[in-house]
């Protein structure tokens, strides 16, 4: 029973198309194998034709053929499989692979679709209506079992469902087309924007060049008529202080932002702690590693201090601004005025600042400490602004280019769905999947959301799943999957990750969510975006052999 993963996503793995006349095949033989059972006297094992047995031994509930082909209608050869332990008794006739020549017991299923049921299910006392709606596989009535023919009813239900499914597939196909169109439009938008940006950049480059020229000209003109002005009074120190002041404000803002982030982290931390404490309560203390985060109130106090305005904080900028004679060394002493806990951090920032200053020539430029004329300053400002515009445009160009090159799946289709979210309830959580973004777990009882992974890439993967009658499932084939990684860290585990596997459906819908291993999730999601693959795959004809 060789397993071949079909590239096609079969609706019914085991379905077989009836072909050929009924004739008088031995029990359990499918029409495509009828030819092997025609001889009235002798039967030759299908894959071991050198082994011949009297026809009376076909279906006599004793396994004669090494490939099991003499027992198409019983379970006598069910053990002929690489899944069974074997001895020379099973391999007595020749060297060969142990595998069945037949896909299973053929159920005619009149009124429905014919199927092969595994030999292991033949005459085991269980009516396998899912595969064998006519109950013919329990012909021996072991233990008194009687499996009535239910094909009329099951077939009818199937056709009804199938019709609905086909209709739904049609709708889904249309939706997909719309999505493709939308994706195309979005792409076009990006491409257009790229073009615009290209033009903008060209213009900006020209402008910068021109302004550079202007500045040079103004400087040349202004040279020599520099006077010591009020500005000069501020001096080098003043300039530095101005910069430091500005930088400090930036740092303060950064700090504020970091603090907010920290607070939100902390609320997550609290949640984790509550998880931990629940865990602690519920866990054998013998093996519960003690240890949670230290309360960081002290640290928090320091942060409070530094984010206060400068005056309250003891930094009197005016003092510096007025102090002409101060040396730049004061800059390095600045950190002394800070709370100890932040000194190191600020020190680093100041070092960065100093590097910036030197890079931009401020610290080294001892000769031009005098104030510049307004004309020069204005020219400089115009140039800077033009340079800024150019940088922004270039950045935007890069971003858009990346966006264009990114893998949005076949036909660029997920471009149309980017940022769209679908969710479902499962157990005590609501799960959310946002296309090209992330997956999230939200407790129904309230509390923080858990990031289950951020989108990293589109992949293809082979799945082997049941396909429920309503079609909401993956079946056996290659599917498009989205990998999400680096979600929130799991206690005593990895960062959360989610693989979202997509199947065709009329509407976006999360079918199934599983935690496959600790903090590694798998979502099965229906979306019209992947319907084309399925649409192509509906088989015109399949013998289903590989599937059994």
């Amino acid at each position: 029973m060789k397993r071949v993963v079909s590239l096609l996503c079969l609706n019914y793995a085991a379905s077989v198309y009836a072909a050929g006349g009924e004739g008088s095949r031995p029990r359990g033989v499918g029409p495509e194998f009828a030819k092997f059972y025609k001889d009235a006297v002798t039967f030759s094992c299908i894959t071991n034709p050198s082994v011949n047995i009297p026809i009376g031994r076909v279906n006599d509930d004793y396994c004669d053929c090494p490939d099991g082909s003499d027992e198409p209608g019983t379970s006598a050869c069910a053990h002929v499989s690489p899944l069974s332990p074997h001895t020379p008794v099973d391999q007595s006739h020749a060297r060969h692979n142990i595998s069945l020549a037949l896909p299973g017991f053929y159920c005619k299923n009149k009124g429905h679709v014919p199927t092969y049921v595994p030999f292991t299910s033949v005459n085991d006392g269980i009516c396998d209506y899912e595969l064998c709606c006519d109950g013919s596989e329990e012909w021996d009535h072991v233990g008194g079992v009687k499996c009535e023919d239910r094909c009329q009813q099951i077939g009818k239900e199937f056709r009804k469902l199938d019709e609905a499914r086909q209709k739904s597939l049609g709708n889904a196909g249309r939706k997909r087309k719309e999505l493709v169109a939308e994706a195309g439009r979005l792409r076009k938008e990006v491409e257009d924007r790229l073009m615009t940006l290209g033009t903008e950049i060209e213009g900006s480059e020209l402008k910068v060049k021109q302004l550079e020229g202007e500045l040079a000209e103004v400087e040349r003109r202004e040279k020599g008529k520099v006077v010591r002005s009020a500005v000069q009074k501020v001096g080098k120190m003043g300039a530095l202080v101005g910069l430091a002041k500005q930088r400090t404000q930036e740092l303060r803002e950064t700090l504020e932002r970091v603090r907010q982030e920290r607070d939100s982290s902390r609320s997550r931390l609290e949640e984790l702690e509550s998880v931990l404490s629940t865990f602690k309560e519920e866990y054998n203390p013998n093996f519960n590693d003690e240890g949670g985060p230290e309360p960081d109130a002290a640290h928090d106090r320091d942060l409070n201090a530094i984010t206060q305005s400068d005056k309250e904080n003891g930094i009197d900028w005016e003092e510096y601004e007025g102090e002409e004679d101060s040396d730049t060394d004061v800059l390095y002493a600045f950190e002394n005025y800070l709370p100890v806990s932040l000194r190191g951090w600020v020190d680093q920032k100041l070092r960065d600042l100093r590097v910036t200053l030197i890079d931009s020539g401020i610290l080294a430029d001892t000769g031009s400490s005098s104030g510049e004329s307004k004309a020069v300053a204005d020219a400089q400002q115009r140039l800077n602004s033009a340079r800024n515009d150019l940088d922004n445009s270039r950045k935007s160009l890069t971003e858009h280019k990346e966006g264009l090159d990114k893998d949005f799946g076949p036909d660029d289709i997920f471009r149309a769905l980017k940022g769209q979210c679908i969710s479902t309830d499962s157990g005590e959580y609501t799960y959310e999947f946002c296309f090209m973004d992330k997956t999230t777990q939200k407790p129904k009882k309230g509390g923080g959301h858990t990031n289950m992974g951020n989108f990293v890439r589109v992949e293809r993967m082979t799945v082997d799943e049941d396909l429920p009658p309503n079609g909401k499932g993956l079946g056996t084939c290659e599917r498009i999957a989205m990998k999400h990684e680096n979600g929130q860290h799991c206690w005593n585990g990895p960062n959360r990750a989610t693989t979202v596997i997509l199947g065709c459906a009329e509407e976006g819908e999360i079918w199934k969510i599983m935690e496959e291993e600790k903090c590694v999730y798998r979502m099965e999601v229906g979306t019209p975006a992947v319907c084309e693959a399925l649409g192509q795959a509906v088989p015109k004809k399949a013998d289903g052999r590989d599937e059994l």
């Binding site: 509930d61 069974s84 020379p88 292991t120 085991d124 006392g125 269980i126 093996f287 005590e428």
Partner: protein, 967 residues
């Protein structure tokens, strides 16, 4: 191993469990023994049997032992002695304390505890075999100062009771087998009032002297009145009360038993020295997290039954005491003549048993075979329950299948991959907030639908129910437990509260009959919502495990029903729970089902007798090769300890096994009597179908092998249930005369099928060495390669192969058609594998019944003996059954079940020219001609034996028949 979450090395927290030095009575008894040994022959054991008190009638000898407690005043304590001789050949020595019996003692701290020494262990452990010996008699030829009783089969046993000092020697066939108190370690700590001594001022250097004094009299008082460990203080209201005695097995080098421990089957010495343990073996049922291998540390269960074995002789003792117990083992080399070292020398195994409270109550078994000893023990404590057939199929467990849909999905996947299994399990997460008898409404919204899906393929669900009941308002189970006062009490005699999975919890006290009755009520279908008849139960944490208790269990001064202290009953506690659950499962299905079905309960904690009630597993093991290797010895040890329905978590509980390890573990697990895959919540999923090629295929082969051999397994269970035979057997049990193989514990025989499996327990193995004890011919199970015993043989063992040999001389029944579950094999035909031995004969057995009900008790079963006779070249099936009311009806249902194939391994060359055999069946008319069945013979080649197959003899499995190979 990406994402392996457990990267720390696992090891037990020793500090959570007492060493002998930290257990007051253990230290006192060891010190006492050291003191006695140091004095050697000048040691005068203070226990004397008052000769005038001795009486003997109806197989019972009684008398009074006097313990001298003050040599100057000659003050003594009276200790009633009873030695009982049983019809079975078993003897029993019971020593109590008179003052405790009559209640003339005072308890400290106003304790409500009982004053007697605990004397109800037998109520729980002993169920039979207590018929008194009619033939036992006092012999007249006793030497002065001793009394001799002759008893046992053919009066070949003797017990010689020495009066002063007291001691008993047991002889068989004129040879001494077991000696009690030969070393003078006997110690019954009698009750005494606490005398408050004036607090002496401690001076430098004084400690040493006072300690020495204490040592000299062997009485270190520091642990008499209270003991603290890990922040818990034991109030010890009765003071010191331990009992101990030494038991010597002269000439015996090997002792086995006293499960549950991780060390080798043949027990190690415990008094230090190279390769020996430094601690005694401990029996104090505990939830030992991440337990270590090769250790005398206690584990979850206790069976205080020990066998001593030497070539062709086995004896044993059963120490019936439920309190904390330690056993020291020393093997003393004795050379008969110091000048001829080694010649005529032998080894005596000296054991020293002591328990914290209760009686000295010891059963003595004189064998002479391992079978006899295990049978005698099992006769007393009960035979293994004959389980339902599904229970010996494969069980799929995980902490946790998280939703009912998850369970259904796993169920479907097994079918999709054509892998057989019978039972899927639910660990604690299925409950609503760890409240047993509830289902989490969010994750298990449809438990009945789930159970129904399983039932469609005759599969079962096992759900966990633990003894701790969550202390939470609005939970009817805890409300009833409290209002009916059915929980264990604390030392103040009010309800005891501790912590376990649910947080604050109470513990049902299953020692109480009314608690058991209430418990049974909880399992009624109406009371346990959404429970279906295919739901069975797993009792975990029943040591009991108490997260915040001393040594992760209950305080010893807790009080149980009848006001017995927990100290007295601790090791029995786990058994009382599964006893209650067993009874509950029996009573739940009266109305709803057509016939009573056998309960299935899995337990982690156990005591002698638990085998009557269900299966055990070895608790929380680890996904490592050494744990896989250790499991074999542990399961063998359970087998010879009368509790053979044992298994270890396949794959290892903690950690992620490599695919190779997982595969090898399934191959080993196929030879565990209890075969269950289980995994910790932090591990990756590892259901067999997830392993991928080639592992899934190889694992499936192992599972299908197990299922094809179920007839042999079920027969082995039947034998265990009627004679105590281990289901998997160690070499010494099968070959008691083979001196070289007495310590072999890494290979196992399946019942008496002659199938010998040697699980591969090392990584990357391509072959294994297998030990053959006898001169029989053995054949490779899969390719018929011949191995001639005795000796160690190397057999190939690539990953896809389980090393199994078939010992010549056996007939093994199989059912070769793979099905989805064991229930669906009920009407499948049989294959008989006849393995011809050196004699040319072979023999085997088959037991068969409906696999679920008790109707076999009314004769609804098939029990056949198959015998192949070399001289007459005939194979016959003989009836071993005893007809009962339901025999005919059962045989009728099995009428069409036939033998479809007979395989003869080692078939004689003379069959080369034969093409058919004659088949005759009982009940057919004598005048009808004998049927013929085709025979094919295949020559030996390349070291592989010749073999033959009889094609479809089509004889009924339930009938007598004969296959004639000569005609």
């Amino acid at each position: 191993m990406r994402g392996n979450t457990i990267c720390r090395s696992l090891s037990v927290k020793h500090e959570n469990f007492k060493t002998c030095a930290q257990s007051g009575f253990c230290k006192r008894n060891r010190d006492y023994a050291d003191h006695a040994s140091s004095l050697s022959s000048s040691w005068d054991s203070p226990y004397k049997l008052d000769s005038s008190s001795i009486k003997f009638s109806n197989g019972v000898l009684s008398g009074t032992l006097l313990k001298t407690i003050d040599t100057t005043t000659a003050e003594t304590v009276r200790l009633p002695l009873i030695i009982t001789f049983l019809e079975s050949g078993t003897a029993r020595i019971t020593i109590d304390e008179e003052r405790r019996q009559t209640g003339e003692i005072e308890l400290r701290h106003d304790s409500k505890a009982r004053k007697e020494r605990y004397n109800e262990a037998e109520k729980w452990a002993i169920v039979g075999g207590m018929q008194l010996s009619s033939g036992a008699a006092v012999s007249r030829d006793a030497e002065a100062g001793s009394t001799k009783v002759v008893y046992g089969p053919g009066s070949t046993f003797e017990a010689v009771i020495f009066h002063a000092p007291f001691g008993v020697e047991f002889e068989r066939g004129g040879e001494t087998q077991i000696k009690f108190n030969e070393k003078g370690y006997m110690n019954v700590e009698h009750w005494r009032p606490k005398i408050e001594k004036p607090i002496e001022e401690k001076k430098e250097g004084e400690d040493a002297t006072s300690e020495e004094v204490a040592k000299e009299i062997g009485e270190d008082e520091s642990t008499w009145w209270e003991e603290s460990f890990g922040g818990n203080t034991d109030s010890k209201p009765r003071g010191p009360e331990s009992v101990g005695i030494d038991v010597t097995f002269p000439g015996y080098e090997h002792v086995y038993g006293i499960a549950e421990h991780t060390g080798p089957l043949s027990l190690k010495q415990t008094r230090g020295g190279e390769g020996n343990f430094n601690e005694p073996y401990r029996l104090y049922n505990s939830d030992v997290f991440e337990y270590e291998l090769d250790s005398p540390m206690t584990l979850y269960g206790s069976i205080p039954f020990m066998q001593a074995h030497k070539k062709d002789s086995t004896v044993g003792i059963f120490w019936l005491n439920a309190a904390e117990t330690w056993i020291d083992i020393v093997k003393a080399k004795v050379s008969a003549n110091p000048l001829s070292l080694g010649i005529g020398g032998h080894t005596d195994t000296q054991t020293h048993w002591f328990s914290e409270s209760g009686l000295i109550d010891v059963f003595v078994f004189l064998g002479p075979t391992p079978k006899d000893v295990v049978r005698s023990y099992s006769e007393l404590t009960g035979y293994t329950q004959l389980p339902q057939q599904f229970a010996i199929g494969y069980h799929q467990c995980r902490w946790n299948y998280v939703t009912d849909e998850d369970v259904r999905d796993v169920d479907r996947k097994f079918d999709k991959h054509l892998i057989p299994y019978d039972v899927i399990w639910l660990d604690i997460e299925y409950t609503e907030g760890k409240k047993y008898f509830t289902w989490d409404p969010l994750t298990f919204p449809d438990p009945l639908g789930m159970q129904k899906q399983l039932d469609a393929h005759d599969r079962k669900l096992v759900a966990i129910i633990d003894p701790h009941i969550k202390n939470e308002g609005g939970y009817s189970v805890v409300d009833e437990l409290k209002s009916k006062d059915l929980a264990v009490h604390n030392k103040d005699d009010t309800i005891y509260e501790g912590w376990c999975w649910p947080g604050s919890s109470y513990w049902i006290d299953c020692f109480s009959p009314s608690a058991r009755k209430w418990w049974a009520g909880l399992f009624q279908y109406a009371k346990f919502p959404s429970s279906a008849p295919n739901l069975f139960i797993w009792n975990d944490m029943n040591e009991p495990s108490v997260f915040n208790g001393p040594e992760t269990t209950m305080p010893k001064d807790n009080l149980h029903h009848g006001h017995w202290e927990h100290r007295d009953v601790h090791n029995i506690n786990g058994m009382t729970l599964i006893n209650a659950t067993y009874e509950a499962l029996l009573s739940r299905n009266k109305a709803e089902e057509k016939s009573l079905r056998r309960p299935f309960v899995l337990t982690r904690s156990f005591y002698s007798g638990s085998q009557r009630l269900g299966a055990m597993w070895t608790g929380d093991n680890q996904a490592s090769w050494d744990h896989l290797a250790a499991s074999v010895g542990m399961i063998l040890s359970m087998g010879i300890s009368g509790f053979p329905f044992a298994g270890a978590d396949v794959g290892g509980f903690f950690g992620n096994p490599s695919k190779e390890l997982l595969t090898r573990w399934y191959q080993a697990g196929a030879f565990y009597p209890f075969f269950r895959g289980h995994a910790h919540i932090d591990t990756r999923r590892r259901e067999p179908y997830l392993a991928g090629a080639p592992y899934t295929e190889i694992i499936t082969q192992a599972l299908r092998l197990r299922y094809s051999l179920l007839p042999a397994w079920y027969t082995a269970f039947y034998q265990a249930s009627t004679s105590g035979t281990p289901i998997v057997q160690p070499n010494y049990y099968v070959h008691p005369g083979d001196e070289k193989g007495l310590a072999v514990d890494d290979q196992l025989y399946l019942g008496n099928t002659g199938l010998l499996a040697k699980p591969v327990t090392s990584e990357g193995a391509e072959s294994v060495d297998i030990y053959l004890a006898d001169a029989e011919t053995y054949y490779d199970y899969f390719d018929f390669t011949t191995y001639q015993g005795p000796g160690t043989k190397t057999i190939p063992a690539p990953l896809e192969k389980i090393p199994i040999l078939m010992q010549g001389g056996h007939i093994v029944p199989r059912r070769e058609r793979p099905r989805r579950s064991s229930g669906l094999m009920k009407f499948d035909p049989f294959t008989l594998v006849v393995v011809l031995g050196n004699s040319g004969d072979a023999e085997g057995e088959l037991y068969l019944d409906d696999g679920e009900s008790f109707e076999y008790e009314a004769g609804a079963y098939i029990h056949r003996k198959f015998a192949y006779s070399g001289p007459t070249s005939t194979l016959s099936s003989e009836d071993l059954s005893i007809e009962g009311k339901k025999t005919k009806q059962y045989l009728q249902t099995m009428m069409d079940v036939r033998v479809e194939k007979i395989i003869i391994i080692g078939a004689p060359e003379s069959w080369k020219i034969k093409s058919e055999v004659g088949v005759s069946e009982e009940g057919t008319n004598k005048s009808t001609p004998v049927k013929k069945a085709a025979l094919s013979w295949h020559a030996a080649s390349g070291g592989k034996a010749a073999w033959a197959v009889v094609r479809n003899p089509a004889v009924a499995i339930g009938k007598g028949w004969k296959v004639d190979f000569a005609s």
